[in-house]
């Protein structure tokens, strides 16, 4: 699903100025960097952190929606939600694999998620109490994710960019199925419409926050932009998302919970765009730092999955070893 504006990476490098300048020239020529290429330690650290956060977000992102699979209102909705959640698991895998090309193991990344050392997108620390949340998540959360991920398809690091191409191909169904749920509810009974409005009220601001802190407060942004890991700033992407989403909300006949939202014809170099109200960054940082409603639940669920799966991993590995040994002794006997 989703990558959030990167939180807290160390982009400092120990290499010589000549090495860094040479590397920057490659980036400026739009050359892709591949796994065994020489690269500044800061570039590697930033990518490991970002791809790791992104992978964890895909995996943890399965939980809020998994919550509704058994209770989907129709078979059509159930197979769609099941397919979407399965896709998110796949996205996690592509991303862990991309990070592994940089010399971290998936096990190490999993441990960092479970210990709380690694972050994931704070959006998944909000609860999903109603079916309308499945609509709002697909529409807004996957919508914001797509906005973020499309430019990542041109990221300077080859394996990350290639993983993103696959991910983006799969994401568009996610957003469409969510919007379809919203249409059904918004054009349904008064109670259903109210449910859709309530979900929009709860998910709007957290979705806007998914793009990360304002550019003026985002410490790693400049270096990430120079290295072409990032192509647009947090605020640019946020503006694009809002401008694309408001007409969709209008079509639904729902109201975005922002009294300061207003069309501004001067914005975007005269093309026009929406002005919007102040974002509650205290809420954002509270959730990032573990104070969201679901932070504890999410990590507890991941920890349980990891622990409960241990005997399966161990048994599968033991079986494989036994088979290999058997084959080896059979070959010996035949000689």
């Amino acid at each position: 699903m989703y990558s959030q504006g990167l939180i807290g990476a160390d982009s400092s490098s120990e290499e010589t100025p000549e090495f860094l300048a040479e590397f920057q020239k490659r980036i400026d020529r739009e050359e892709k960097i591949e796994p065994n290429d020489p690269m500044p330690s800061g570039y590697r650290k930033t990518l490991v952190r970002q791809i790791g956060q992104h992978a964890h977000s895909e995996i943890v992102g399965m939980l809020p929606e998994g919550n509704w699979i058994t209770r989907a209102p129709t078979l059509r909705r159930k197979i769609a939600l099941l397919a979407k959640v399965q896709d998110e698991g796949g996205h996690g895998l592509y991303l862990y694999s991309a990070a592994e090309t940089l010399g971290v193991s998936r096990k190490q990344m999993t441990e960092e998620l479970l210990s709380g050392k690694a972050k994931y997108s704070s959006i998944f620390n909000y609860p999903t109490p109603t079916w309308a949340d499945m609509g709002a998540i697909g529409w807004l959360v996957d919508g914001a994710a797509i906005m973020n991920q499309i430019p990542l398809c041109r990221c300077s690091y080859g394996p990350y960019a290639r993983a993103m191409v696959r991910v983006c191909k799969e994401e568009s169904f996610h957003q469409r199925q969510g919007y379809e749920i919203m249409i059904s509810l918004a054009h349904g009974s008064p109670e259903q419409k109210e449910m859709a409005q309530d979900a929009l009220n709860r998910w709007w601001w957290p979705s806007i926050m998914m793009f990360g802190p304002h550019d003026s407060d985002s410490t790693n942004s400049d270096q990430s932009m120079a290295w072409k890991i990032k192509r647009f700033s947090n605020d640019e992407l946020r503006q694009k998302f809002i401008d694309a989403t408001i007409p969709q909300a209008e079509y639904l006949g729902l109201t975005v919970p922002d009294p300061d939202l207003k069309w501004n014809p001067e914005k975007n170099d005269g093309k026009g765009g929406y002005d919007f109200g102040a974002i509650d960054w205290d809420e954002f940082w509270t959730v990032v730092k573990g104070g969201g409603k679901m932070n504890v639940d999410r990590i507890t669920a991941r920890q349980k999955a990891w622990d409960d799966g241990e005997w399966v991993r161990d048994a599968a590995l033991a079986h494989a070893k036994k088979q290999t040994a058997k084959k080896a002794s059979a070959t010996l006997a035949a000689e």
Binding site: N36, G90, S97, K169, A316, L317
Partner: protein, 96 residues
């Protein structure tokens, strides 16, 4: 026990349809080839991406050193006599 024994990494190659080569499309972890094939099918061919899968243990791949790139691949640039445009054939002979 899983501490000392990491589940190995495999590279996945998919042939989109007959007539094309298998192409690298990603990686995954699996304990053996059977599990790797099953997982590759589940993860990498959910939308008609392929008709045939190869899987290879990542550890069995030997790669050239990117630092030796110039020494390895420069000759293809300087040996222009390996290319058809190096040779002159009069126009009246026609396309060759």
């Amino acid at each position: 026990m899983s501490d000392q024994n990491e589940i190995p990494l495999w590279e996945v190659f998919i042939r989109p349809r007959n007539g094309l080569s298998h192409r690298h499309c990603g990686s995954l972890h699996a304990v053996d080839a059977t599990m790797a094939l099953n997982a590759a099918r589940d993860v990498y061919t959910r939308r008609g991406e392929g008709q045939s899968i190869w899987i290879v243990p990542s550890a069995d791949i030997t790669a050239s050193d990117p630092q030796e790139k110039d020494a390895n691949f420069e000759p293809s640039e300087s040996k222009i006599y390996r290319h058809p445009t190096f040779y002159e054939v009069p126009e009246e002979v026609g396309h060759m």
